[in-house]
């Protein structure tokens, strides 16, 4: 989300620090900031969560509608992910039509969740071929201090875990006043998380603050999950006109399972 170019002197300072393996806040290059997750942000949502990752804060809500299935998946419920980079959250965010960052963020979260198979969409059919549940995940950053994609993915996973399916009225519409006790059909094993690797000069690092993120040259987001006991990469996207070398890609592939376990352990405490 670096919409502002950093000054040359800032970039040089970070390059020197990172080469020495140091950061302003004393963390290691591959260390995430502490995070906490709370639930029930809005009692009108089917599920919701608030994530604080360092000073970055994101709230995520899950709403459900009954719609027609997509023509290419008549036997599956629908999943939609949207995000709005509110001008409330950062001096860098502006009102108006969504900029590229606001399009990319929900698409990355969507792919990580969808491809992992965390949600069994086949169980969200109301009337086969006619009516299915649409699960809509809406992401709002409240305070943007770097690494919003990873924060949003933690929030989305947590909000899904907390979601409860609404009732259905006699007319076949959702009954939000009389919720069922039924949770969403989620896999017990598979919990997708996004891990975004940033690069400045020749150094790779994780979970930047806004200042570090703005100084970085490229970021690559990986959706990672565990599936039948193996660590799967479910999605990936590199940003910015800077290359990654083969050695770097291989180093990242080795790092992902370790970081996934660490984040997953930390998230489980809140679920």
């Amino acid at each position: 989300m670096s919409s502002m170019k950093s000054a040359g002197i800032t970039i040089d300072t970070f390059k020197k620090l990172f080469t020495a393996g140091k950061r302003f806040d004393g963390r290691g290059l591959m260390e995430y900031r502490p995070f906490e997750v709370n639930f029930e942000v809005s009692n009108c949502a089917e599920g919701s969560a608030r994530v604080r990752l360092g000073k970055s804060e994101v709230i995520v809500g899950v709403k459900m509608n009954i719609d027609k299935p997509y023509p290419d998946s008549p036997d599956k419920g629908n999943l939609m992910v949207s995000a709005d980079l509110l001008p409330l959250a950062s001096p860098r965010f502006e009102a108006g039509p969504p900029k590229f960052d606001a399009i990319e963020l929900p698409r990355l979260v969507d792919r990580a969740i969808r491809e992992s198979g965390m949600i069994n969409l086949k169980e969200l059919v109301v009337t086969p071929g006619e009516k299915v549940w649409t699960v809509i995940i809406d992401i709002y950053p409240i305070n943007a201090d770097g690494n919003l994609i990873d924060a949003a993915s933690i929030g989305a996973a947590a909000a899904l875990k907390s979601a409860v399916i609404p009732g259905i009225t006699e007319a076949g519409t959702p009954d939000y006043k009389h919720r069922t006790k039924k949770k969403l059909p989620l896999s017990d094993e598979t919990l997708p998380l996004s891990i975004t690797v940033f690069k400045l000069g020749n150094t790779l690092f994780l979970d930047p603050t806004r200042e570090e993120e703005e100084a970085s040259e490229t970021r690559t987001t990986f959706g990672v999950s565990k599936w039948k006991g193996s660590y799967m990469i479910n999605s990936c996207q590199k940003s910015a006109p800077v290359c990654l070398t083969r050695a770097e890609i291989e180093e990242i592939a080795k790092l992902l399972p370790k970081k996934y376990d660490e984040l997953n352990e930390r998230l489980k405490k809140f679920l």
Binding site: S235, K238, C243
Partner: protein
């Protein structure tokens, strides 16, 4: 039973490549690139002065890519106009091509790259990148090298190169995985890295190795077309 691809190709085989230069006479550079039934055309206009003026950067030129599908390039008519998908692909294509250009040579300008898919059978972004890379060379824009792009996929546990739509829709075992890559020819510098599906982290290396032969073949086809044009 041994694994067999739907169209009988070996796992490391590309579809037949078609590469042509100069398909759009009005453009400063243009090219067509096809992987089997996936056909992409690209035109380059520029470097030319960027408008509106306040977008100009006196330190560097900019690359602006637009990728889209023609409405009849897919079975269900694609509504004309940009979608979120096409905006994202335009952006990743821009990122995939920029590293080979030295745009500082052309301050205040824009290089426009227009990519359209005429017929789609999976692998459209990679065909588009290959076409655009050739079109940039045809336009005489100084480049470090060509960019080559291919999608590697996985069907259940088999790693295969250059998937067709039928292969992308594969539904069994570990399901389909689509892993589009681009790199600067003859280097180990990757400029595009995307993925959808399920691939074990420890098999990434294997994917990069199988992609290398494909990159070499694509590079040869691109070079051959350019040489024919300029000989």
């Amino acid at each position: 039973m041994a694994f067999k691809r739907i169209d009988g190709r070996k796992n490391s085989d590309l579809r037949p490549i078609t590469a042509k230069i100069g398909v759009i006479p009005n453009a400063d550079g243009s090219a067509l690139f096809a992987f089997g039934n996936t056909i992409a055309i690209a035109a380059v206009y520029g470097p030319r002065l960027l408008h509106p003026q306040h977008m100009q950067d006196p330190e560097t030129g900019i690359l602006r890519v637009n990728y889209d599908l023609l409405s009849f390039s897919v079975n269900d008519r694609k509504k004309p106009g940009p979608s979120r998908r096409s905006q994202e692909i335009s952006k990743v294509t821009e990122w995939a091509l920029s590293p080979v250009l030295d745009l500082k040579e052309f301050p205040n300008t824009v290089i426009d790259v227009q990519i359209y898919i005429i017929q789609a059978d999976a692998g459209t972004r990679t065909a588009g990148i290959n076409a655009a890379s050739m079109a940039l060379a045809h336009a005489g824009i100084p480049m470090r090298n060509l960019v080559c792009s291919v999608a590697v996929g996985k069907q259940d546990k088999e790693i295969v190169v250059d998937l067709t739509k039928a292969e992308e829709d594969f539904d069994g075992g570990e399901g389909p995985t689509d892993f589009p890559l681009a790199k600067i020819a003859n280097t180990d510098q990757y400029t595009l890295l995307q993925l959808d599906g399920k691939i074990p982290a420890e098999r990434v290396s294997e994917v990069l190795t199988i992609a290398d032969q494909a990159f070499a073949n694509i590079y040869e086809a691109q070079k051959k077309a350019l040489k024919e044009e300029f000989s």
